[in-house]
């Protein structure tokens, strides 16, 4: 981690304690996470960009700490190209710290009842995947990550994760 810059203003919208969903768009993937898993949403343009060799796509400052940000592809694998433009960074609660995920769009669904979720069919299920459910929303298929599961998935990429 080098040359960590502090954003000029911290305009994170705190969504702590909410019970609805955040629906993230990453390429063609639409991913719903429990709103309570998120600490906030920030513009990707406000991030401190990572140096080229780093696994992290960038860093953000929040709650007195500097936290890593990751970019995933539609298969939830770490994205190799770092220069793709993103619009938002969702700060996820990860243990005692935070971890960021870049995405193209974020939609807030205020009520938990807005999604009728069902389990991923047994024949397609991977017990190690953060995604264990799915939902049909506006005639599109959303994948639903279990509580805190997406942050745990990102932490597997985070060799330099620092919760201090």
């Amino acid at each position: 981690m080098t040359d960590i810059a502090t954003p000029e203003s911290n305009d994170m919208a705190d969504v702590d304690g909410e019970t609805g969903w955040l629906v993230l768009t990453i390429d063609a993937l639409r991913l719903a996470i429990p709103q309570g898993d998120s600490k906030g949403i920030e513009l990707a343009s406000a991030l401190d960009v990572s140096i080229e060799e780093e696994t992290e796509a960038g860093w953000f400052t929040q709650d007195g700490g500097v936290w890593p940000v990751y970019a995933l592809d539609g298969d939830l694998s770490l994205r190799s190209e770092s220069m793709r433009p993103w619009r938002f960074c969702v700060a996820l609660r990860a243990g005692d710290g935070l971890i960021g995920l870049l995405c193209d769009q974020v939609r807030i669904l205020p009520s938990e009842q807005e999604l009728v979720v069902g389990g991923i069919p047994m024949c397609l299920r991977n017990p190690d995947s953060p995604i264990d459910q799915m939902a049909l929303f506006e005639n599109e298929i959303l994948f639903v990550a279990g509580r805190r599961m997406l942050a745990q998935h990102l932490m597997t990429y985070s060799n330099n994760y620092d919760q201090s």
Partner: protein
């Protein structure tokens, strides 16, 4: 002599299967499949069909059949199959991707033959029986099994790309060293993907280690 109507489904250049006619609901030429992240290798995705989400399986991919191998570019359509997990339970639906339009076939007792060999033992798992036709050996699928967890347990080969992993997340160590997940098969083959621990499939036991 018993004569039963079935549908013959092409999975690859040399691989065909059949299903009893009662299972076949619809053939969709260009299904709009949504890939499932980190799904098993035989996953073709999910599909919105008649207002519900149904799974789609690419059995050719699981079998690794010939040069076409069930690769998505060879898939020309999908057959929607109906099945019940047990008698009296609700009807369920799932899709099976195919490389050609299904063909009707009448099967008789005298066409019966042994199941073909497959190193993963997939036919033992998924086939009810088998018949021979035009130099092809054609297993008859147990459709309920096709859409159960059994195939996943047998394949245990996930689409996930090789990735770095934190030791603390998977191996209970506080080391800061970079680690990679590797797996090694009984023949020494490196898969470079898979689970930590031990996985067993039709080819034997695979040791998956942290390096």
């Amino acid at each position: 002599m018993i004569k039963a109507k079935s549908w013959e489904l092409t999975l690859g250049a040399k691989t065909r299967v059949a299903v009893a006619s009662r299972h076949v609901v619809e053939f969709i030429r260009s299904p709009k499949l949504v890939p499932v992240p980190l799904a098993p290798i035989h996953s073709a995705g999910l599909l919105v069909w008649q207002g519900n989400i149904i799974p789609a399986v690419n059995l050719g991919q699981a079998l690794g059949v010939g040069e076409s191998g069930g690769s998505p570019e060879y898939v020309s359509g999908m057959v929607v199959l109906a099945y019940q997990d047990a008698p009296g339970t609700p009807m369920r639906h799932g899709g099976l991707t195919v490389c050609a339009v299904p063909e009707e076939v009448w099967v008789t007792d005298d066409m019966s033959c042994p199941l073909p060999a497959h190193p993963g033992g997939i036919w033992d798992l998924l086939a009810l029986s088998c018949f021979a036709k035009d130099d092809h050996v054609i297993p008859i699928l147990d459709v309920a099994r096709l859409f159960s967890a059994a195939l996943t347990a047998r394949c245990r080969n996930v689409n996930a790309k090789p990735r770095k992993a934190a030791l603390s997340a998977s191996a209970g160590s506080g080391s800061e060293a970079d680690v990679t997940i590797e797996s090694e098969g009984p023949d020494g083959t490196d898969r470079s993907q898979g689970y930590l621990g031990t996985e067993v499939d039709g080819e034997g036991e695979w040791r998956v280690r942290v390096k």
